[in-house]
């Protein structure tokens, strides 16, 4: 019998008009989405409703209205069974002082409902997989930040859940540690069939690990789509490398309707061209100004730009739809 993975479930998360109120404050507004098993990034600024959504998905909070399922479990019905299918990695340290690494992970296994011996065996296995075997018997207080993050991942993985819920998994890590953690998550998702919902404010993490992204803003689902689709190469963006005094060249570009997104001052420009633009025009303009155009490459919109664009568009739509604004 093969391992149960998230792929056995038709929908990893299926939410219908989910809302959550805290008194008079609405943290989530009619959120609806359906996610197939995979690696999903959850993005949103502070106060967007990410934490509330995570609480509901973990069965810690019932929705005020609406309904939903996580890996086939109806939200608000059997939260213990739901949490057993999820491995949750909290953002905070959430360590038990005085315990050793192996004890901590084994305790997590027992709390998930594993028999003690199996939890202990599995704890050693998972810690070995995560390259913490030498630190197994060290007290948790002696762990470095990177080790603590891996330890938190170990306690989420100990019962081999089909789905991981990761809250800021790279928080506090240095670049090398962050890269290692992201690669680890990618491996878990790709090679071991772990579905994951990665809540973060680091857009690069989502871009690196996830294939789908959800953007929450002010309790509403602003955007849902595949990361690849959203970051798809856009045909109106170019990265130019020029040699020579570009001052007049930039002016000329602006007159032609080209928008300069970024100028690093060392001859590299990122630009957005108007519709119907022909690439050879760059060469013609450079020639006019006696500049050498050393490079010209189509450019991508990264997730950060995407995030801000979506928020700006949302803001624009909001202003346009405000009553009385047209008047």
């Amino acid at each position: 019998m093969g391992p149960i993975t998230a792929n056995d479930n038709p929908a990893m998360i299926d939410l219908r008009n989910l809302s959550r109120w805290y008194g008079r404050f609405q943290a989530l507004r009619e959120v609806s989405f359906q996610l197939a098993p995979g690696r999903v990034g959850l993005l949103g600024p502070n106060g967007a409703g990410k934490s509330t959504l995570l609480k509901i998905l973990l069965g810690l909070l019932p929705p005020s209205s609406g309904s939903g399922r996580v890996l086939g479990h109806v939200l608000g019905e059997d939260s213990a069974a739901l949490r057993r299918t999820i491995g949750y990695m909290p953002e905070s340290d959430a360590l038990v002082p005085g315990l050793r690494g192996a004890e901590y992970v084994a305790l997590a296994g027992e709390l998930y409902g594993m028999p003690r011996r199996e939890a202990q065996r599995r704890a050693h296995e998972v810690l070995t997989y995560l390259e913490l075997e030498e630190a197994r018997y060290r007290r948790l207080e002696e762990y470095s930040t990177g080790m603590k993050q891996r330890l938190k991942l170990a306690q989420a993985l100990v019962h081999d859940p089909p789905m991981l819920l990761l809250d800021e998994p790279t928080s506090g890590l240095d670049p090398a540690g962050r890269e290692a953690m992201l690669r680890l998550l990618l491996t878990l998702g790709r090679e071991h069939g772990k579905a994951m919902l990665l809540s973060t404010h680091l857009l690069g993490d989502v871009e690196c690990v996830c294939d789908t992204v959800l953007i929450l803003h002010q309790g509403r689902l602003l955007l849902q789509g595949s990361v690849a689709e959203l970051c798809r190469r856009r045909h109106d963006r170019y990265r130019l490398q020029i040699q020579g005094d570009a001052t007049t060249f930039r002016e000329e570009l602006r007159l032609e309707g080209v928008r300069i997104l970024h100028d690093n001052g060392r001859g590299e420009l990122r630009v957005v061209v108007p519709p119907g633009w022909a690439t050879r025009t760059f060469f013609a303009l450079a020639d006019n100004h006696r500049l050498l155009l050393r490079g010209i490459q189509p450019d991508d919109e990264d997730l950060e730009e995407l995030f801000h664009r979506v928020l700006n568009e949302e803001g624009r739509h909001g202003r346009e739809s405000e009553p009385g604004r047209d008047a």
Partner: protein, 318 residues
């Protein structure tokens, strides 16, 4: 070079193996929580120092009973000279000692044992409160527990079980050992004739367990750190005792003022459980035991309500 180092630092998951097995119900999580809490406590050297102190009291009772019982079997009917005080029957002398030291397997023996042992328990609990539960709030361990498939009740039960196991290891279990020892030393009939004492020991142990467990969990959840916890327990069990004594014995206030002394209230209920005959002088200034029970019940209920509210307020996902 740098890339290869990064790759070398990447955790290897090639041997990741799935786990297949049946999960146990959430109630099975209670014991692991209790076990880990006790383990954290047992790892502190200070605990063992105080535990050994507590053990000395038990050994005093245990060997006191044994010694007097052995001496009784060795003593003949012949009278012996007691220095310049005259002659006496050794058996009567031993009986006198038993009566004076209350090492006669009677209700007062167990009540005294609980009282002396209780002081040690108090000190350990005040020191251990932060380890048993306070640290969970102080270092953010609660999200670890509560994000698992168990409810807040299971968590509280686990922590309560840890405290209860500890209290009973220090009080009820040794008291039961003393009961068994007396029966084995004296006569098997003791077990039948004084079965009420067995129930009394269990009852007194239960009162101490419930009251002290809830009080410790609530105060440790509230104060978290060891020093404030010790100060609060000192106030509750030492300062209030002095205050109650000053009000009732000194200023002749109503004996009901003794109800602010929680330790006195547990002792009163303990006396009732064990059937200790009242001492006229001491009990003239004591409130009735059912009022003490009411106060302890009220305090326990308040602690429970506070605990539930406090644990519910914990943010598991921040």
């Amino acid at each position: 070079m740098g890339e290869s180092r990064n790759q070398a630092a990447t955790p290897e998951l090639l041997h990741y193996r799935p786990w297949r097995g049946a999960f146990r119900p959430p109630i099975a999580s209670v014991w692991p929580i209790a076990r880990v809490a006790l383990m954290s406590l047992f790892r502190k050297w200070m605990f063992w120092v105080i535990y050994v102190l507590g053990l000395l009291i038990f050994l005093l009772f245990f060997f006191g009973q044994y010694l007097l019982s052995w001496a009784q079997t060795q003593a003949g009917e012949t009278e012996v000279q007691l220095g310049g005080w005259g002659r006496t029957n050794p058996r009567q002398l031993i009986q006198l000692f038993r009566g004076l030291l209350k090492l006669d397997g009677g209700p007062q023996t167990y009540h005294n044992f609980f009282s002396y042992q209780g002081y040690i328990v108090m000190i350990v609990l005040a020191l251990a409160g932060s380890i048993l539960i306070g640290n969970d709030l102080r270092f953010g361990s609660l999200p670890f527990y509560l994000s698992k498939p168990l409810s807040r009740w299971h968590y509280l039960l686990g922590k309560g079980l840890a405290v209860a196991v500890f209290i009973n290891l220090m009080t009820t279990v040794p008291a039961l050992l003393l009961y068994a020892q007396w029966g084995l030393l004296e006569s098997w009939d003791y077990f039948y004739e004084r079965f009420d004492l067995l129930l009394g020991i269990l009852g007194y142990g239960a009162v101490l367990t419930v009251t002290l467990t809830l009080l410790l969990l609530a105060t440790a959840t509230w104060l978290r750190r060891t020093v404030p916890l010790i100060m609060t327990w000192t106030t509750l069990f030492f300062f209030f005792r002095l205050l109650a004594s000053a009000l009732v014995d000194g200023l002749r206030f109503s004996p009901r003022w003794r109800l602010i002394d929680l330790w006195n209230s547990t002792s009163l209920i303990g006396r009732t459980c064990l059937g200790v005959p009242p001492r006229p002088m001491a009990f003239a200034n004591q409130p009735p035991w059912h009022e003490a029970a009411l106060i302890l019940g009220g305090v326990s209920l308040l602690c429970l309500i506070y605990l539930i509210r406090r644990i519910q307020a914990v943010e598991i996902v921040r």
